[in-house]
């Protein structure tokens, strides 16, 4: 392994670990204030939404609200199934199935 690449990999690893452990390390020392807990309660909903919506609306990096956007079409159907069934297996099977069919017919 080349030393310059090794330095790059190590520095990336250290920086990444710092972002992952930073807050845990901070709250080991001090107790979390109540207002912060109230704020943090909504993080999962916000993060899940921020992971889903751009993946469906901008799958290739640009806004694509057309019938050619398979991610959006399959996403809408998947959302309906997820809402109705609340079942991960049937949602994934139906969602991926739709995705494959869309790819075959387009």
């Amino acid at each position: 392994m080349r030393s310059d690449i090794l330095v790059i990999i190590f520095s990336m690893a250290i920086v990444t670990f710092a972002t992952r452990f930073g807050c845990v390390a901070l709250f080991r020392q001090t107790k979390m204030p109540v207002w912060l807990e109230r704020w943090l309660r909504h993080i999962p909903t916000a993060i899940l939404t921020a992971l889903i919506i751009p993946a469906l609306i901008l799958p290739k990096g640009q806004v694509d609200i057309t019938l050619h956007n398979h991610y959006l079409l399959a996403g809408i159907l998947t959302a309906i199934v997820a809402y109705k069934s609340r079942n991960i297996v049937s949602t994934i099977v139906l969602g991926m199935g739709t995705m494959i069919i869309l790819r075959l017919i387009d």
């Binding site: 520095s11 845990v24 943090l40 806004v63 991960i88």
Partner: protein, 244 residues
């Protein structure tokens, strides 16, 4: 008495084992998206001029898909200053601070080695699956570990598959399997939208995420969406409490 304690300990270990396996199983659908992503990472590493060992080593140590893709692309473009790459990685991964803050209240009750290990393994996917389990049944470190390790080994092994199979596979990202991730997250999201405030948080986050994806570089849209939407959520809750 001692016997009772021993059986109590034994049943706790048994529950931990079960929850560990439940965590592994819960990552199943997401792996459909991770594996082609990892294979692509392996192929891209080679294309950028990294060796097989270097590419896999990066997945082993960094374990952060998005920032690895960015770094590999930059290396391919001739940028090899470790300071530039470390800064870029920091910016791409800043969102982990928010996830760490959200999980900290549960993680600080674990032993330090476990905290370090679970932190090292923290990803978007592990966070999404673990918090959904917290929402349903409460936090379990064994479950969290099962989820995290399953994602870690899948990532490393699929990078390895990518560097080994490299030239035989044509663009695995074009298979559309990455759709498994938003699909899984949809199932995890809906049960959370029970009250008015969480629906507002979801809508605000969606709008900010789309706006951020259009106008902001890299993964900044996640930080903007998350900070903006949760601030509004927190404020609304304060107002609601005041009204009561």
């Amino acid at each position: 008495m001692e016997y009772e304690q021993a059986t109590l300990q034994a049943s706790k270990t048994k529950i931990d084992h079960q929850e560990f396996y439940q965590g592994i199983i819960a990552t199943g659908p997401i792996l459909l998206g991770i594996i082609p992503f990892g294979i692509t990472c392996g192929i891209m590493g080679l294309t950028a001029g990294l060796t097989q060992v270097e590419t896999v080593f990066m997945s082993l140590l960094v374990f952060a898909g998005a920032s690895q893709f960015v770094a590999i692309t930059m290396i391919a473009g001739g940028i090899t200053s470790w300071i530039v790459l470390a800064m870029t990685t920091l910016l791409v991964n800043l969102r982990h601070l928010l996830m760490g803050a959200s999980l900290a209240q549960y993680m600080i009750k674990q032993t330090l080695p476990k905290q370090l290990l679970l932190s090292f393994l923290l990803t978007d996917e592990a966070y999404a699956v673990t918090t959904s389990r917290i929402y349903q049944k409460g936090y379990s470190a064994a479950y969290h570990l099962g989820v995290s390790l399953s994602l870690y080994f899948s990532w490393v092994l699929s990078t390895l598959a990518g560097v080994l199979a490299g030239s035989y596979i044509s663009d695995p990202m074009s298979w559309g399997l990455d759709f498994a991730m938003p699909a899984t997250f949809l199932v995890l999201l809906f049960p959370r939208l029970k009250c008015r405030i969480s629906i507002i948080v979801c809508i605000v986050s969606a709008l900010l995420a789309v706006a951020g994806s259009i106008w902001l570089p890299g993964k900044w849209y996640m930080i903007t969406a998350c900070v903006g939407a949760t601030l509004i959520g927190g404020l609304l809750e304060g107002v609601q409490k005041y009204e009561k």
